[in-house]
Subunit: 287 residues, 2 copies
């Protein structure tokens, strides 16, 4: 890494998040692309009680009633560094900032635009899901498995889980071939309720979390079209896709179908999506 | 501020957010409570192209295939500092970390627990809303006003808006006395649609934002029980309360009522709430 850092030729910033203080930068090392990420480190408990006295050069000072603010300097500061080298175009696209837009999908839009888009996705893209369901891969990571073709499902840790209770992140994947939220009807209530019940039992047993401390939700649009439910700790406030426009709470999904069996076939569903996503392109030519 | 920093006697950490790298610390200055906040600063464009070469002391280095990561040191680093002095117990409670829980409110729970709780809130707590609606305060900040008692509403910038297009944050407040999402029926469709239409027109006119670049949503539970709609830019990814369990998209609210006029009277609605919130206390004794 020392060599990558010292020989890095800056090209451009891919993304710079002022909220998390993390930046992704693209450059070259030996004529090959290299991505570097820098992220400021959180405050540590052992530095906190002397922090006020450690600061120097207070600047841009403003006071208003009991409030005041300014900028100070720490004599030195740690950064987390990550590198990808050599980096492909796919890596670059992944870390490039992408603006998102809100699209409202009517039932007609689903039939005419989204469903044909889903059917064009090669089945090989969900081969990894099939492998998990058939026990051919990640079998050692599976927390729960029930192979019933109608109400069966697998629960396993999400790839992005850091292993902590606070950031608990599991996923439940249905055995049955259900594309997405749009496909759910009264027929799926036993599956949905079983996922809810087993999830609550397992987070209590394995992570000492009560039902009211977890969020069970479904993404629409999902990142892959084989029905799955996300299971995260409420304390995981930065969990991916928990926002309105992405996450549909399992409790609400069940309640909607119980009241209105065709709810998800009749609803107009707003969803957030990257403005350069292939599906967004198709929606641009809707009218 | 120099005096506050040098005389600050550390008592305890109120909250420490590893995601945003911001910490709130409680202490004393001259026997009165003082709250200090420190937040690491975002990366700046003019430091980015030399950042890789500025780092020293690379440590905890790990490599795996094309990926590697570690920790480096910046020779100096800015911090944003804020202080509140003297700080009251209310200030302390505001910045203290609070765990949230998910509660599912059935229609019966609403009648038996939530509605009596709302009715016990002194009317004086929404006097500021009445003042805005009657033009007695913030009149110079109002962007739009229609005083029709059924379909009228006011649009004005939210107090927390920083003024940028990227973080646009407005609020639309109904003239009519509507408590919350729970109260909405077919009678309110003209109001809801008018809010949607006028919001889209105004964000285009005042902020050059298209309809698909804004998020219109309602909180449940709301922070005050007089019906209002939040208007934020999609790019404002850290907008307060946009998560599932808090935000209900206006498009979905309208669609639900159009299909099922009594949707919000019959639904079981999950909501996120602080575990020490007074309403949470009442729900603990539900069964």
């Amino acid at each position: 890494m020392d060599r990558l850092l010292s020989q890095f030729q800056f090209e451009r910033v891919l993304s710079n998040d002022p909220r998390t203080k993390q930046i992704y930068v693209l450059g070259y090392v030996d004529n090959q692309h290299c991505i570097l990420s820098f992220e400021k480190t959180p405050f540590e408990d052992n530095q906190v009680n002397t922090l006020a006295q450690t600061l120097v050069d207070i600047d841009q000072h403003v006071e208003n009633h009991i409030y005041s603010w300014g900028i100070g300097q720490l004599p030195k500061s740690d950064l987390h560094i990550k590198s990808i080298y050599p980096a492909t175009d796919l890596h670059i696209a992944k870390y490039e900032a992408q603006t998102r837009v809100m699209i409202v999908e009517t039932p007609t839009d689903y039939e005419r635009i989204t469903l044909p888009y889903i059917k064009d996705i090669p089945l090989s893209r969900i081969q990894w899901v099939k492998n998990i369901l058939e026990g051919k891969s990640e079998a050692d990571r599976v927390i729960y498995q029930n192979k019933d073709p109608q109400t069966g499902f697998v629960i396993l840790p999400d790839m992005k889980w850091d292993g902590s209770q606070e950031n608990l992140y599991w996923v439940a994947i249905a055995q049955a071939d259900i594309l997405s939220l749009r496909s759910l009807t009264r027929d799926h209530l036993p599956l949905l309720k079983k996922i809810r019940q087993v999830s609550y039992e397992l987070v209590k047993e394995k992570a000492q979390l009560e039902a009211h401390q977890v969020r069970l939700f479904v993404h629409y649009q999902p990142s892959y079209y084989h029905f799955h439910v996300h299971i995260t700790a409420i304390t995981f406030i930065d969990a991916p896709g928990i926002m309105s426009g992405q996450a549909h709470l399992l409790d609400t999904v069940i309640d909607n179908i119980e009241h209105y069996p065709q709810y998800y076939q009749l609803a107009s569903i707003p969803f957030l999506i990257g403005e350069n996503h292939p599906l967004t392109e198709k929606y641009k030519h809707r009218h």
